[in-house]
């Protein structure tokens, strides 16, 4: 698939671009682990 085709497909599908520095990525990942952890614990899920 050509690059522009892939870019069009991703954008039209509903993915928004993210731009973060490494420091921001670290902080975001920590917050995501906490957020998902809260949901996983609340519903009592494990795999």
């Amino acid at each position: 698939m050509k690059e522009q085709d892939s870019l069009d497909k991703i954008s039209k599908a509903g993915f928004d671009p993210l731009v973060k520095s490494v420091a921001e990525s670290n902080a975001y990942y920590k917050s995501e682990v906490e957020s998902w952890g809260k949901m996983v614990k609340a519903i009592g899920f494990s795999n």
């Binding site: 870019l7 731009v19 990942y29 682990v33 952890g37 519903i43």
Partner: protein, 269 residues
């Protein structure tokens, strides 16, 4: 816009991997990019686009390999166990963050992997067949208070399943039956056929159906509407603020260990 984002992500990745904690002449060999999901999916597509951008600026190849399974844990474990030299990268989704709590025997820890670039994000969506009497999420929840409903997902343990359970069980407090399918496509097919009352999935595979009117988007679990489905309100607009779930795609190398740090200054390239 996405092209600029990919270029920025490529620059951040190269910059992060070229820090003194990695080898001073990085890369001096090809880099393996392990994708947690099958070829052809959006995570795979994004991995290959970013890798191509990086290769254009470096002398070595970024070779993409799909290693799906265990909700993304197989690829994550492989990268967590690789040499901490930046030559093996993981491309995965928000399932990794959920698995940190959900998976008890995954074989790696949160600290084994370091995120260096988040590239894209898409929210989860609740969608229904257009014959559903509820015209929006408020009405859907009100109806569900009176009568139990069924909802389909791409499978047990997927992000939308966890996000859907959390919303219906903890936030909306309604009665329902979860119907797990083997992936998003059969879940969509069942909803299009009106065999389940609702669907919770990451937005992308549902987008063409919502845009065509074959499915009705009830709400997206993000702080703003998505440009691909601008008519679908957020959960917050429907009275459920601060409920967010969705899928990102990000790059992770193994976190450098003290012994992997270079003691010599990085050479000028």
């Amino acid at each position: 816009m996405f092209k600029i984002s990919l270029l920025a992500a490529s620059a951040v990745i190269v910059s992060a991997l070229a820090q003194p904690c990695w080898a001073q002449s990085y890369p001096s060999q090809n880099v393996t990019v392990l994708v947690s999901f099958p070829a052809g999916g959006l995570a795979d597509m994004i991995a290959r686009l970013v890798s191509t951008k990086i290769e254009a600026n470096l002398k070595h190849s970024f070779v993409t390999e799909n290693r799906a399974g265990a909700g993304g844990n197989i690829a994550a474990k492989a990268v967590a166990g690789a040499a901490p030299d930046g030559y093996t990268l993981l491309v995965t989704t928000s399932g990794l963050a959920a698995n940190m709590t959900a998976s008890k025997n995954k074989g790696f820890e949160q600290g084994d992997l370091r995120p260096i670039a988040f590239v894209a994000f898409s929210p989860d969506v609740i969608a229904v067949h257009p014959s559903n009497p509820a015209k929006n999420l408020k009405e859907f929840v009100a109806n569900a208070k009176e009568k139990s409903f069924t909802y389909g997902s791409a499978g047990v343990g997927t992000g939308p399943h966890i996000g859907g359970e959390y919303f219906f069980q903890e936030v909306a407090k309604v009665k329902y039956v979860h119907v797990p399918f083997q992936g998003g496509t059969p879940a969509i097919t069942a909803t299009l056929g009106n065999h389940v009352d609702a669907l919770v999935l990451t937005l992308p595979p549902t987008t063409p159906h919502i845009r065509s009117g074959a499915l009705r988007g009830m709400g997206v679990a993000s702080d703003k509407r998505n440009t691909a489905t601008p008519d679908v309100p957020t959960y917050g607009e429907m009275g459920y603020p601060n409920v967010f779930s969705g899928s990102w795609v990000a790059f992770f190398p193994r976190r450098p260990t003290p012994s992997s740090r270079s003691s010599t200054p990085r050479s000028t390239r």
